[in-house]
Assembly symmetry: C4
Homo-oligomer: 292 residues x 4
Amino acid sequence: MMDSPLEKARRIFHIENRTVVNCLSEFYGSLLLLFLGISIVHQFDLSHKQLNTWMQINLGWGFTIMFCVYTCSKTSGGHLNPAISLMFYTLGKLPLSHFFYYSIVQVLGAFVGTAFAYTVYLDQTHHVLGDLRIVAGPNGTAGLFTSMPAPHVSNTIAFWDQFVGTGFLALFACVITDKRLEIPFSIHPLLIGLVVAMIGMAFGMNLGYPINPARDFAPRLFAALIGYGWEVFSYHNYYFWIPIVAPFFGAIAAAWSYFIFVGFQIPDQPPSYMKENKTDGDGIPLKTTDLA
Amino acid sequence: MMDSPLEKARRIFHIENRTVVNCLSEFYGSLLLLFLGISIVHQFDLSHKQLNTWMQINLGWGFTIMFCVYTCSKTSGGHLNPAISLMFYTLGKLPLSHFFYYSIVQVLGAFVGTAFAYTVYLDQTHHVLGDLRIVAGPNGTAGLFTSMPAPHVSNTIAFWDQFVGTGFLALFACVITDKRLEIPFSIHPLLIGLVVAMIGMAFGMNLGYPINPARDFAPRLFAALIGYGWEVFSYHNYYFWIPIVAPFFGAIAAAWSYFIFVGFQIPDQPPSYMKENKTDGDGIPLKTTDLA
Amino acid sequence: MMDSPLEKARRIFHIENRTVVNCLSEFYGSLLLLFLGISIVHQFDLSHKQLNTWMQINLGWGFTIMFCVYTCSKTSGGHLNPAISLMFYTLGKLPLSHFFYYSIVQVLGAFVGTAFAYTVYLDQTHHVLGDLRIVAGPNGTAGLFTSMPAPHVSNTIAFWDQFVGTGFLALFACVITDKRLEIPFSIHPLLIGLVVAMIGMAFGMNLGYPINPARDFAPRLFAALIGYGWEVFSYHNYYFWIPIVAPFFGAIAAAWSYFIFVGFQIPDQPPSYMKENKTDGDGIPLKTTDLA
Amino acid sequence: MMDSPLEKARRIFHIENRTVVNCLSEFYGSLLLLFLGISIVHQFDLSHKQLNTWMQINLGWGFTIMFCVYTCSKTSGGHLNPAISLMFYTLGKLPLSHFFYYSIVQVLGAFVGTAFAYTVYLDQTHHVLGDLRIVAGPNGTAGLFTSMPAPHVSNTIAFWDQFVGTGFLALFACVITDKRLEIPFSIHPLLIGLVVAMIGMAFGMNLGYPINPARDFAPRLFAALIGYGWEVFSYHNYYFWIPIVAPFFGAIAAAWSYFIFVGFQIPDQPPSYMKENKTDGDGIPLKTTDLA
């Protein structure tokens, strides 16, 4: 086993600097995330919802997050989202400098991943769109890449929508990873994936739940460069900054609300009546109150 | 690590009184539950089932229950439902006083959560409904908030439907949490979520499976206040009390039926032939009979 | 805790005779199974596939099996299917006498469960069908209860279809419960549920995958009694015996094929190269060959 | 227990030669895989997407992979795909000779499994197709068995599509089985199944995601023999070789990209700050950076 190809290669490619390692990991994870996610949206839109339906958007993005988080879970933590990274900074889990590094490589990875997805659907895009690249409206197709609110959704509601959607993501990320809940590490990414699917079922109608500044901005830039032009930024009274900014506020507010209402209140040790209960014989664990 | 923001905040916000903690937790969990759940229904109805279909109602509510129960699982237990709390009282797991506390904060949380969901969909609601707030009938939209039976469903069947639906929820909650089944605590909420999805697939047609007095009453009150008026209560010969009352009876009857038919019969120790079997070499655990 | 209601009740209701306990358990589990399952089919058919679609039939039955097996997993084993019970007999896991006891109570439970489901949908059935009870054809509705093959499906293919469908159920039940695979007991029912959903996606078109003599026969008898009459038995050249008989042969053949091709070949101890591998550092467990 | 039927049969059928055992296992697993998978596609196409929709194609194939991998996980490893076997060879996990053995029995198993699926749908096929066996175009039905690209998809994109799709399968197979991620062995097949479902949601539009040389070639040969003729090979400028060849390159490239970007960078031991963190009291595991 001394000469196994993987062992040899590990010695060659192993990097000691953890900052470099974590940036590589967030870059790679974000690349995979957008490669898969943008492809899911292309299959939905380009097939006119005949192949993928909204359910595949929900479960597809959910599974995609799930496996991209698994991929990076032992290196960078698998944030893949600047709002989640900032939230971890406010919890004292990430140095501020690393929040900036992470955000940059998350956007870079998202951009490269979008480009990859675009190549897989080149022929289908040409078949359906021809040379037309209309940003929004009845024939608009920039939604293949990034969020484009309908005219009847105001930017105020758009901000609130992204605040709320990213908030739920951050909140349940704190729940799932809360050590006091004792959920095994190996199913954290699985549960995070289901959270994303759920958010799509609850908050997908206004904007399509980007809930991630990197996921929204990088493909928007890509769309601008491949022919949609500046309008992807100016559309809807320069809406584009909303899914970049709102998620940060939502993630922080929701995460801290969890800790204040619930997380800080979980006892370090189960109280004695719960321990005793472990040996009684009545079938349901007591986890509710002190039977005062 | 002494000065981590979370540790500092924990010292500030930690509350010792477990009754207050549990009430906070049930309030917060019920708020999240309705915030997510009512949003799911809005996305279903306001998109005319083009985004969410019935499947998203089922899986969406299932995932929502799942993560809200995870959130509260180590504090209040995550009942989020007065009928479940009363059931636990009959099993000797919750003092009667706490059943009343829990019910009140569950309704309060559900009301606030409904209000939050309403705000996210303000623009979409205005776009689809304009200023019309018709309770029921072909153009009725109070179903965005609460259950509204079709005219051909009698209140007798409605009562039975809620008795049965809540019964299955309570029954499988007892199964999943039965210590003798040895299901790891960390997947209890996951399984409870799938139970709710299943109930929606089996008993969603008559009333839309509220199966929770707080989930049905609080949004009904909210709907009355935002313009639907008193008719949400008087509709269908004052149907509104049925999804409040029937769940209590169903939950208790079904939970006890489980214990009588199965739960009380599970041996405390696996009989000797099962232990021996653990070391035989034939591939399938014997779990059926005593081979008499 | 000495006086908890559950402990008191356990002393009253506990039954020592394991045969009685197991029969009670199989009766109760089969009752729940058909109560839920027949309700799922009613919601599918009576809503003209507007609420439930084929996906809810698949996932709904899957979840239903999942939780009914959980319910009975520590008492009778949760067979809920005479073909599975007979298969366990051929594996030496169930006495022949118990196969007969199990089959009888499974049919009884299935009958009572069907009756319960029927009551929940009484108003909806009346609304959609009026007083018409047509067995088959364009307006046939006996499919609400039991399998009714289309005229272009021969009874030979019907037999093969039930042989195959039940075979896959039995085969993967043997895989999942094979001790040598070391799958934790607490996720066995979860996986069995997904197997059933999968079978519905693969073999649902010919007959609707009854794959269980009790599940097909008991509701057929119920349908005959509530107005569909003798034709539910005579239809399609007395097809009714096929989903009763074919599952037994399929379950036994498929289960043994698994053991002969794979199960008997799993080594009792992992060979030495696999143990060594546990301490090497290359990222993927060796589980394929002896590197000869 | 000495005389249990399984123990007796084990002594008779047990084979010592691991190469034979592994080949039997891959043959059997591939047979089951195509038996189920081709049946899923038949139900989709022959019902004109009224029973199965694209979601059942995704989840159905996902569950099918899941349970077929479970079946073979303790013998041959459950590759069921020559591209995955070659990838394991490049990682030093499979001797080159075994790659060839595996590939041969995978194709044989896939062929036999296809034939079995065909028999279950004989009557339905006759009912829908009559005697017509048209390969492609508006009335083409060879897609019941194998991938048939639309005319507007070039063979270059087809190659890239299969490179990418199989790449993601291989990449996440490496992630899931990476010992350093410490995912329990017993949920590896479950996660692999979800990966396949996800790939179908992201990369199903161009070719229907065969991502497996054996899964595409064996049914293509079967289709040629039952009446579709040589055109299944010559169609689309001899496209047939693409889903045979491209997966090998994609699987190797993607697997190694994972190890270089992430896998080789996972520390053998968690660094000290992570261990310390295990005993702090702040609710979220530190898994991101060294807090430099």
